[in-house]
């Protein structure tokens, strides 16, 4: 049943959500591209950033945000150095790697619970962005504009690094064929570290933007974000960054639209509807909606 809907409002809200998931999807997709590793502990980076924001509330905002970026990038590098690199050295299969990222995610959540408690912390860093201005009867919150602009800028910057710099060329080479690129002189570990740094910066940006609308930080905050973004990456097609970004955006957009359009009695089934669409997309286009048309089998995990 459809409720009375202000379509403009629904679309505006959905775009903001889509932009956020698009960013997360790129963060996950970048590391996947280089390492063929689905990092399920990515959401815990976002949670870590949110905790930094919560605990530095009242500090000057730029410092608080810089600390957030620094902490998240450090944690991203720590994940690689402490967990993922030793695993690759040990010759783990992709399935083992995937479960290992679950274990890392589980471990980080347990640490957050032990250190910060289950009750949750409130982030107020950019709370003022929740105020809205009205265009044509549609309330547009400032955070929507900020999210979309930040998203576009960061995606543009990531694309620029990948396309215009030599180290970006190395990342793309490694993503295309890791072994051959190493033979041709690409420094594997540097490329891997850099992609973790970029994905960390993206995660920190998501921490800052996400907590404006959802200020409560809890140990498991990152899990649903990771799940939806991961779904977006696979639905969009994981062989290229822009298709992953579009997939993340699409999942956020569809979710946001449906949650405004469906009545409250049927909207409890919204996750089921979205997951159902995901299955349909995967059956029709296993390589993703925006993936390559060639029928190359993506057999990676």
């Amino acid at each position: 049943m459809l409720a009375a809907v202000n379509w403009g409002q629904a679309i505006a809200d959905a775009i903001a959500l889509g932009a956020l998931y698009g960013l997360v999807a790129v963060g996950i997709g970048l590391v996947f591209g280089v390492l063929r590793l689905v990092n399920f502990a990515y959401g815990e980076l976002i949670t870590a950033g949110a905790y930094v924001l919560a605990y530095t509330y009242g500090w000057p905002r730029p410092i608080s945000i810089l600390l957030c970026v620094g902490a998240v990038v450090a944690l991203a590098l720590a994940q690689e150095l402490v967990a993922f690199r030793p695993l690759r050295r040990g010759g783990a299969t992709p399935a083992t790697m995937l479960v290992a990222t679950f274990a890392v995610s589980f471990l980080l959540q347990a640490i957050y619970l032990l250190a910060f408690g289950s009750r949750g912390q409130i982030v107020g860093t950019l709370g003022r962005l929740n105020s809205a201005f009205t265009v044509d009867g549609v309330d547009i919150r400032w955070i929507l504009l900020v999210t979309v602009v930040t998203g576009l800028v960061l995606l543009g910057a990531t694309a620029a690094v990948l396309e215009r710099t030599s180290v970006g060329l190395h990342i793309r080479a490694a993503a295309t064929d890791f072994r051959t690129s190493r033979l041709l002189g690409v420094r594997a570990n540097r490329v891997i570290m850099l992609s973790f740094v970029i994905s960390g910066v993206l995660a920190a940006a998501v921490s800052v933007l996400y907590t404006v609308s959802n200020p409560l930080v809890q140990p498991t905050m990152g899990v649903p974000i990771t799940i939806f973004a991961l779904v977006g990456v696979v639905v969009g097609g994981m062989d290229r960054l822009w298709s992953a970004a579009l997939g993340g955006f699409a999942v956020g957009l569809v979710y946001g639209l449906f949650s405004d359009v469906m009545s409250s009695t049927s909207s409890v089934y919204l996750p089921a509807v979205v997951y159902g669409l995901v299955i349909v997309v995967l059956l029709l286009r296993p390589a993703g909606l925006f993936g390559a048309w060639r029928s190359a089998q993506v057999e990676r995990v």
Binding site: T93, A95, A110
Partner: protein, 328 residues
């Protein structure tokens, strides 16, 4: 001789656990029985994941289907009239015994797995993983809100509980079925597709059909395990069958070694034991001296141990070998 050992090892472990469970205080009994149920769930998961090499995040759905059905059909109709009057007519008025309810649980697990598997077994790799995850998400969402098939987000209690030995008997059935499958030609064909899909296809094996068969059997065993779970806990609630169960059972499987039945059993028991011990230690345990750990150390330690074992020994504790086959 070796063949006997391969099956005897896991069964002996299960019997030992059951023997301890039936002979100790009720607080600890619960922990040992939960460990037994975990063995059943992980072995069910192993039948598909271990033999096919494809990860499934959807098995908690089949466990849930079995648990809900077995729980609802054994509950007293008068209680159900009072607590969940919105149930389907059949579910509301049925009341059957323990064994038939477990048979029903296995049947509904198999049926659900076949419905899901018919389209999904065409996928492999990450798309397969995400699609099975989507199945889990749908199951959880529907179980949480559809009043005709369960208590919704509420917890329904009062499901008749089974003894430690009857739970152990159910677990042994799951293990024997898993072993019989892996020794059969179907199990061998599926493992061939895991090792080399192209060569298996060239030998005339249909990957789709073999995976679907394993998925259905695995779903049946998971449904049965769900039935055991509900008769062990005595309660029904959707939260039991979602992310936590999915990740813990997958981690147990990989921890023990996903290449063997022995690995599945050892992984489930080892993580359960560690979890229970640390849980007790948070309320002081006597290990020669009185050990008291601060609250929250349990989860951190379990997470750290799982991550460490995966890093140091990616093929799992057993290295994917069966019981009695220690040499490569």
């Amino acid at each position: 001789m070796r063949r006997v050992l391969e099956l005897a090892g896991p069964i002996a472990l299960v019997a030992a656990t059951a023997a301890i469970a039936s002979g100790i205080s009720s607080a600890h009994q619960l922990e040992f029985e939960t460990a037994l149920v975990m063995v059943a769930i992980v072995v069910a998961l192993y039948v598909f994941v271990g033999n096919s090499g494809v990860i499934s995040f959807g098995h908690a759905s089949f466990v849930a289907a079995g648990a809900y059905l077995a729980g609802l059909v054994t509950l007293d109709p008068e209680t159900k009239n009072f607590t969940t009057p919105g149930l389907f007519h059949v579910l509301l008025h049925a009341q059957i015994g323990l064994v038939p309810s477990l048979a029903l649980a296995a049947a509904v697990g198999a049926a659900y797995a076949i419905v899901v598997g018919l389209p999904l077994m065409r996928l492999s790799g990450l798309p397969a993983g995400i699609a099975t995850f989507a199945v889990l998400g749908i199951t959880y969402d529907v179980l949480s809100y559809w009043g005709k098939i369960g208590p919704g987000v509420q917890t329904l209690s009062g499901v008749p509980e089974a003894s430690s030995w009857s739970i152990a008997a159910g677990v042994v059935i799951v293990i024997v079925a898993a072993y019989a499958y892996q020794r059969s030609r179907f199990g061998r064909m599926l493992r061939a597709t895991r090792e080399d899909p192209a060569a298996a296809r060239a030998s005339g094996i249909s990957i789709y059909r073999q995976r679907l068969l394993a998925f259905a059997l695995s779903g049946a065993l998971a449904g049965l395990a769900g039935g055991l779970y509900v008769h062990q806990l005595g309660i029904i609630t959707p939260e039991l069958f979602y992310l936590d169960l999915t990740f813990v059972t997958l981690a147990m499987l990989v921890f023990g070694g996903m290449g063997s039945l022995w690995g599945a059993v050892v992984g489930a028991l080892a993580i359960s034991a560690l979890n229970s011990f640390l849980g007790d230690a948070e309320n002081t345990v006597d290990v020669g001296f009185h050990l008291t750990l601060p609250n929250g150390t349990r989860l951190v330690t379990v997470g750290a141990v799982m991550a460490l074992v995966l890093i140091l020994k990616p093929s799992g504790l057993t290295g994917g070998r069966e019981f009695g086959r220690w040499r490569r």
